[in-house]
Each structure stands twice: as structure tokens, then as C-alpha cells.
Symmetry: C2
Subunit: 335 residues, 2 copies
């Protein structure tokens, strides 16, 4: 990793909504950022990003460099690779295979996984055992509404960071990255055990993302329109995850924490508001869903540990099939 | 009820896909049939029904009379009112309120409920305690693809009939109606306890209808693309219903029967085929879903009886919210 006195050189892998906001923060912090853009490459290359936000105002900015493929920057050594793509474990090529060209022979480059779900670090750690891996939990409700155009209508901005595994000796890398995010105007926290934060966010992701994808309602609208059984479903999912976390030895993911998470949606139901979860947006846009990272990894762990999860298993099976149907439709459209 | 030697006079309430097929059968049996048509009134009035079928060929036929509202035929006394509408208990006006104009002071008219779900007879029996009520379970995979146009691509045709309640003394009415259906070329059976048949069909309806509505897959595609958790979900729902049926004293709805029902979908998964359930068709066409008849009545009975139904309750909450979102979208379109 470069000295703390040199501007950090960062490869941004996945420059969608979250990646686009973090790009702005890292540029503000003085970093050199090379962005790997896929669907929005032409727009970003020619016109940069247009961010419409409460936190940073309405602004236009461009990455230090834009590439379509990591093969275009194999000659460069990065301090950090910030991964802001969807987490799609099991997809081919896998995330570590995609990153290999810029990581081979570069054990000093830290990999920051700013992604949803649980168990998402395993395949990266297996292929790059020497690289520092940082696990990140993102709270940044932004949406890319068109190529390079990001709507970010709330003030909330928090990146929770920690080493993977939690006992690894590269905490300084987490602190350096958190400092950059804060210098750039965002919020960041370094955790001793990031898995607690990851599982705490899973409480909400596992309940609300599949509900949104399957019903096309926000969290608040779902609770207002599904009767007491809707409350029982969402709360039941959270309880199943608390039980699994307990069995897995992830401390701090308690019924009390679940109550606080559940109360956020209850409040939205009462006030007639609600949030469109990312999976609901993905369904509307015909994109793949983070089914395995958010649901599949949890239900498989539960089976291994003999924990009963009838509600989460039901949501998993339904969402997996919905994702298949989406991909089938998309392949027809693109044929 | 009229003599067996007079042609029966029948009011067909709900002339969609199933109603349109049964209309043909009743006409073939020599009945006089007045059809209440709503969305397809103009087409049926002017051009009749066009049926494209394996069982009856491709034919055109018209009801003896077509009306838009039962108020147009209050001066007539019917032997049977055959109800082939969706079952939407709890909707306003209720089904008995809709039928009242042709049933007031006519205790001899038999009411045939050819509808899905369980507990669907209760509100009709409460308002018309003197009328013979026949409960019918329909196997007739037909779809109305446009106003008055019915596609019916399978040979299957079976109406299972019985009195409501099963101990009621009007079995002769069930036998007469079954005879008419058979004379018309269809299949019909009179059961001593129709609730056994109703609950047996619920095994499939409760599993496959919400799965189709939520995932937009057929039964076969769902099983092929949701992994082992998909099998566990569908089978788990069937087991929950067997447990409830046992508690409710509905005999003959056993794990063995559930296995046979489940095997139909497994076979379709193996052969790469599958059936689009009615709720999936309803979602595609933006229509209301039979949520309460198929799911709500079952989960409420289960709560009363202290039977745990985590899977069916999950499907109920999701489908109820999906139905709300569909109706909200429809109201926007029609505004």
C-alpha cells in the first residue's frame, strides 16, 4: 500500500449508484480514481456523472480515468480496489476471476467489498489469500436513474468497515479507507467485528428486499396492505436471522436490534411512506437479483446448523424463481 | 325446482372462461341459459362465444339470453344459478348481495358455486338459508384470451359436486345438475362430502397459485429453477394444509393425496413443461387475485385451531400485498 502522504490510487469496480457517490467522495479526498464502467461507459467517458443529491448538491464530475475492462489498467498498481458491484456469488466469471488481472502479483492492494449479503468475502479471500480484504456495509440510498445519472435524495451516508477476517492484522487499511471517505464528506466507521454490522443489515435486507421484489410494494406499503400476516412475515424473518446469528457466534445481532430495524418500516407504514428496496428496483429494470448473497447463503448456513427457517426459505425459493423468470424475459428482449 | 322433464332454466353468473365452457355444455343438454356478462357483454351479445377446444372442437354459440345485470331478469324463476365468477369473499358488494334480486322469495332456486377456495359457501348460505346450495370443484383448464374468445387446449373436464352442507337433503339437485353437465359432454361427479374434493384441490391451488403470481413461473418452471428449496416450499404448503384438514375433520385429505398432487408438478418439471395457474394469468392481466378464498380463509382457520402455517402465511401476506399493488396500478391506468 502506498504511503499515507501520497494520494491514494483507487480502482473503482462497479460505478453504478453507490460507486458513483463514493467516486465523488474519493475525488474530494484527493484520490486518483480509475473507474471501471460497463453499461454507462460511453456516458461517463464523455459527460461524467450527474449527481442530484441532498448531501452534496447537484453536481457533475468525472473519474480520473475511465475504462471498460480491468485489462486496460493491468500496468497500474492500486492501493485499493473498491468493489461496488452487485454481489452475485456463484455467477460466472466469479468476482475474483474478474479482478485477477489487476491483482496477480500485487499482494499489497487492499480489496474493499462494499456489498450486501453475508458470506460474500469467502471466494475473494480464497483466491487472494495474501491481500488485505476489507468488508464494507453500505448505507447510501442512491439510485442510478439513467446512465451516469444518480439520484440520492437522503442525507444518510455511512460505510461500516472492518477487516476480513475480523482477526486479520490489516486494521490500518480499514482506518485509512474510512479516513478517505470522511475527508470526502461521507460517513465511515471502523468496526472490530464487521460481521455484526453485516448481519444487522441482513435483518433488513433479508426481509424487505424479497418482499419488494415479489410484491412490488415498498416496506411501508407492504405492512399497511398485507394485514397482521405481513408484520408476522417480516418479523418472523428477522427472528430466524437472529437465531442463525446466535448459532454462528455472531454476537450483537439480538431481538432488540431486530425490533429497532423492524420499527423503521412500521413507522413508514404509519406515516404512509416507504422505501423502494434495491431488489424492487432491479425487478422493475429487469436486472439480476442478489438472491444468493442475501438469502441463499443464509438458508444454506441454517441447514448446516439445523436451524429452521421456513419463512426465509420460502422467500429464497420464490426470489430465485423470480430472478430466473426475469433473466428469461431479458434474454427474449435482447435476442 | 322445475320438473326433470322440463328443460332447466339456468342463470349463468360470470360468463368468463369456465362459465363459457359450461354454457356450451348446458346448451347441449337442452337447457335455457341466461348469461350475465360484464366485460364481454357487447361481444357476446353480438357475436356469441368462440371456443377453441380439444374437447369440443372450434365452435361458436350464444346464450339463450344475454344480460348485463341480474336486475334485467328479476321476473324469471331459475332452476339453477350457476356461479362461475372469481371467488372474492370480503369484496363489496358481496356475492349474495349481487344475487339477491333474483333469489328473493325464490327458495326453490338452487345455487351452484363453481369456485375455488374453502369456506366460500358461508356467506351465501347465511343470506339464503332456504335455498339448496351446491358446492362445486372445477377442473377445466380454459382461458378467456379476449372478450368472448375461449382457449381450452386440454381434454380435462370435471365438475365435482355436492350439497352444502354435506348433510343437507338436496342431493337430488346435485344429481340433476351433474346429469346436465354429462349430457352436455362434460364430466361430473356427485360426492357425499364435497369438502374432501374442495380441500384436495386446495392442496394445489394454495401451493401453485401464489407461487405463479409472485414469481411469474409455471409450476414446472418453478421447481426446475428454485433448487431444492422450491420443492420444500410447495411440499411444505401441502403438508400444512393436510394438517389443517385433519384438525378440521375433513377426512381423505392425506399426505398420500398430497404426494399425488405434488407429483403432477414434479412430472412437469422433469419434462420441461408447466401450467400457468389462474393467479399468474390474473397478474399478467392486472385482475384481482382470489387471495382470501384460497389463502386467507385457510390461514385464519389455522390460527383459530392453533396450527402453525409459516409457509402458507408467508404466501398469503405476499399475495395480499401483490394484489393491492395490482389494484393500485389498475386504478392509475383507468384514472
Amino acid at each position: 500500500m502506498g504511503s499515507n502522504h501520497q494520494p491514494a490510487h483507487i480502482l473503482l469496480y462497479g460505478a453504478g449508484s453507490i460507486g458513483g457517490v463514493y467516486l465523488y467522495q474519493l475525488l474530494q479526498a484527493g484520490c486518483k480514481v480509475t473507474a471501471v464502467c460497463r453499461s454507462n461507459y460511453d456516458t461517463v467517458k464523455n459527460h461524467g456523472f450527474h449527481l442530484f443529491s441532498v448531501r452534496y448538491g447537484n453536481i457533475v464530475y468525472s473519474p480520473s480515468a475511465v475504462v471498460q475492462d480491468v485489462l486496460e489498467c493491468v500496468d497500474q498498481v492500486f492501493d485499493f480496489i473498491l468493489v461496488c458491484t452487485k454481489s452475485l456469488p456463484g455467477n460466472k466469471p466469479s468476482l475474483p476471476e474478474q479482478l485477477k488481472p489487476v491483482l496477480s502479483g500485487r499482494p499489497q492492494t487492499a480489496i474493499v467489498l462494499a456489498q450486501n449479503g453475508i458470506g460474500i468475502e469467502d471466494e475473494v479471500a480464497a483466491m487472494f489469500p495474501q491481500n488485505p480484504i476489507l468488508s464494507g456495509v453500505v448505507y447510501c440510498p442512491a439510485v442510478q436513474t439513467g446512465p451516469g445519472t444518480i439520484e440520492y435524495p437522503e442525507f444518510l451516508n455511512l460505510l461500516e468497515l472492518g477487516t476480513f477476517p475480523s482477526t486479520a492484522p490489516h486494521r490500518h487499511a480499514a482506518e485509512r479507507f474510512a479516513d478517505l471517505m470522511i475527508q470526502g464528506g461521507g460517513g465511515a466507521q471502523v468496526h472490530d467485528d464487521i460481521q455484526v454490522a453485516r448481519w444487522s443489515k441482513l435483518l433488513m435486507n433479508a426481509a424487505w428486499n424479497p418482499v419488494g421484489a415479489l410484491t412490488l410494494t415498498t416496506d411501508g406499503d407492504f405492512l399497511r396492505n398485507s394485514g397482521p400476516y405481513g408484520d408476522d412475515l417480516a418479523w418472523g424473518v428477522m427472528v430466524e436471522i437472529v437465531m442463525l446469528a446466535r448459532e454462528m457466534g455472531v454476537t450483537g445481532v439480538t431481538l432488540q436490534v431486530a425490533k429497532e430495524k423492524f420499527a423503521i418500516a412500521s413507522k413508514r407504514a404509519e406515516t404512509g411512506t416507504g422505501r423502494e428496496m434495491s431488489m424492487l428496483q432491479d425487478v422493475r429494470q429487469g436486472r439480476s437479483l442478489e438472491v444468493e448473497a442475501i438469502l441463499g447463503n443464509a438458508v444454506r448456513l441454517a441447514r448446516d446448523k439445523n436451524i429452521s427457517m421456513p419463512r426465509l426459505e420460502t422467500l429464497y425459493a420464490l426470489t430465485k424463481a423470480r430472478c430466473w423468470a426475469l433473466e428469461k424475459e431479458a434474454s427474449k428482449v435482447n435476442r
